[in-house]
Amino acid sequence: MVDAFFAVFQRPNFLTFVIIFMWGLYIMVTRYNLVKKLIGMYLVQTSVIFFLVSISAKRGATIPVLLSITEPVQAASYANPLPHVLTLTAIVVGVATTGVGLALCAAIYQKYGSLDEQEILEKLE
């Protein structure tokens, strides 16, 4: 039990990821305000992006541009660019989703004059 506890604290990045993810999920589930739900959704997306970045972090490594063309390539001295590219794409996808979500929120507000889920549900009945 104690070992498991310390094992968790040896990887603070995973712990941070779990906290942000659960926090976002909690906001999405418990808040009635639609914009707050979107914020929760954005936290969930960001936490996954954070996870991707944190597993690809490498101490003492540089950008993946060859330091010298004469010496053989030392893979250990370069950071893996792929997770960062994935992260960029995931951010773009997240921005697009949030944009559509905000547009829907604006349209809902114009139509029902409220952003509170319960008030809207009452008006829908």
Partner: protein, 489 residues
């Protein structure tokens, strides 16, 4: 030239979608004919692609000449090509249907509406062909974002349904991405075939199991699997009538196809979590979905809601088929997926026509159809035969092969679930037909204008397709058996 076909299939709708707002800036009524022409071209190219794949083997399309595993790969194999022919035909029918029935108050936004439909179709091509896990994620999200916007396009109650779908769907996408990053951390590759080569040595890894489960939950949300289905009925019911058929026949099916790819093409279906084989898990979840979806459908009074729950139960039946772990069940599941796409399209076309021409929304209004539109009742009978699974239709043969596969694997729970779900489907269609033939309709017998030719055409084609899939089931099953099986079989 022929090895470029997958890219052409994708670029046709994508370029049309991008150029649509420019081309139709002055002439907004061009957007419908342009979409129809593009989708007709897509149907032809997809048939050509299927012919090519059958005669010359699968096409591995590598983008920009970057070799696998570094580059992004698309795989046009038998399974993808067969499904793509059907999905592009259904996309075409959906666009033909949408012409006169699209929301009236869109004005200039009608151009963007067609842009979104074409974007949805192009992302479906991407999902079907993707040979790379992250590429799959991107296309799943393109499909999802276009469907959020399409559902919300008409305003009103649909806005709220679209928002809920957006929140739940994005959670699913995040979980899928989390699963992909787990698998990437373990294997160091994103290419499906490369990952399949590296996995056998790593099967004991806990991260692998975690990643697989996250992906399953994520895709389960996207395909509206039973515990995660709550977004679907509302979204499809309140979506514009012209959009529901396209969404119902394309979006959930491609998420299911993505899951089939992951479980059979990457994991070879052999992974075991805490002594529980993953296929058993999928089978149990599928059985629950089949029965619960059909019982919920029985409780509905809104006909679109009823059809949406029917679709949820069919997702379960397809999962039962593909989780049997033998070729018979797998082919039955894939064949049922084809049938289900056609039947869902047919049912939502029916619901659209019934509302547009006769103002029918709930079961209580259905009496009007029986009196005024016997041909609509006829189309509904054909669709019902398919949904219940009676012999001349494709639905029967799909269920038949699924049950044969389950008996072969001696999974009697699956057999019971399929039969139970069939009985429940029978029950809710009996409820529908009782309402039609008793003719206790309240309200006036009004008809709004003449029925457009396009609606009759789409209804006719889908009804015929349900029959044709049944009558020609044996060549299609043979085709699937010889070209669409995963590598392990």
């Amino acid at each position: 030239m022929s090895h470029q076909l997958p890219a052409i299939l994708f670029l046709l709708p994508l370029f049309a979608a991008i150029s649509m707002p420019v081309v139709c800036l002055k002439h907004r009524h061009w957007s419908h004919p342009i979409s129809v022409v593009i989708l007709v071209a897509m149907v032809l190219v997809s048939i050509l692609n299927l012919y090519n794949v059958i005669h010359h083997g699968e096409v591995q399309y590598v983008f920009g000449g970057w070799a696998v595993p570094l580059g992004i790969e698309w795989v046009a194999d038998g399974l993808a090509s067969v499904i793509l022919v059907l999905l592009s035909v259904l996309g075409l029918l959906g666009v033909v249907f949408t012409g006169p029935t699209s929301p009236k108050d869109l004005g200039g936004r009608i151009v963007h509406y067609y842009t979104l439909i074409l974007l949805l179709v192009s992302s479906v091509v991407g999902i079907v062909f993707a040979g790379d896990l992250f590429n799959l994620f991107v296309f799943l999200e393109v499909a999802a974002i276009s469907s959020y916007a399409l559902i919300g396009v008409a305003g009103g109650r649909a806005l709220f349904a679209a928002f809920r779908y957006l929140i739940v769907g994005t959670l699913g996408a995040s979980l899928y991405l989390l699963g992909v990053s787990y698998l990437y951390a373990v294997t160091g590759t994103l290419n499906m075939s490369d990952m399949a080569d590296k996995l056998p040595l790593l099967l004991s890894s806990k991260a692998l199991v975690g990643g697989l489960l996250f992906m399953f939950i994520g895709l389960g949300i996207k395909m509206a699997l039973v515990p995660f289905h709550s977004w679907l009925p509302e979204a499809y019911t309140y979506a514009p009538d012209s959009i529901s058929p396209i969404l119902a026949s394309l979006v959930t099916k491609v998420a299911l196809l993505a899951w089939v790819r992951i479980i059979y093409w990457i994991f070879n279906a052999s992974i075991i979590i805490n002594d529980i084989p993953i296929l058993l898990l999928v089978e149990v979840v599928g059985a629950l979905a089949a029965v619960i979806g059909a019982s919920l459908a029985l409780a509905q009074r809104d006909i679109k809601m009823m059809f949406a729950y029917g679709g949820i139960s069919h997702i379960g039946i397809i999962l039962i088929g593909i989780s049997q772990g033998n070729p018979t069940g797998f082919v039955g599941g894939v064949f049922y997926l084809l049938n289900d796409s056609v039947m869902q399209a047919a049912l939502f076309f029916l619901a659209g026509v019934a509302f547009f021409q006769y103002g029918v929304r709930t079961i209580d209004d259905l009496g009007r159809i029986g009196k005024q539109a016997p041909w609509l009742t006829g189309a509904l009978i054909v669709a019902a035969l398919g949904m219940i699974g009676l012999p001349p239709t494709g639905g029967f043969f799909g269920k038949w092969y699924i049950i044969l596969g389950a008996l072969e694997a001696s999974n009697y729970v699956s057999v019971v679930a399929v039969v139970l779900s069939t009985l429940l489907t029978l029950a809710y269609f009996v409820k529908l037909f009782e309402a039609i033939f008793r003719q206790t309709s309240t309200g006036s017998d009004i008809q709004f204008g003449v029925i457009p030719l396009s609606s009759k055409l789409t209804l006719g084609v889908t009804s015929a397709a349900i029959m044709i899939l049944g009558l020609f089931s044996s060549p299609i099953i043979q085709l699937l058996l010889s070209h669409a099986l995963p590598p392990r079989f």
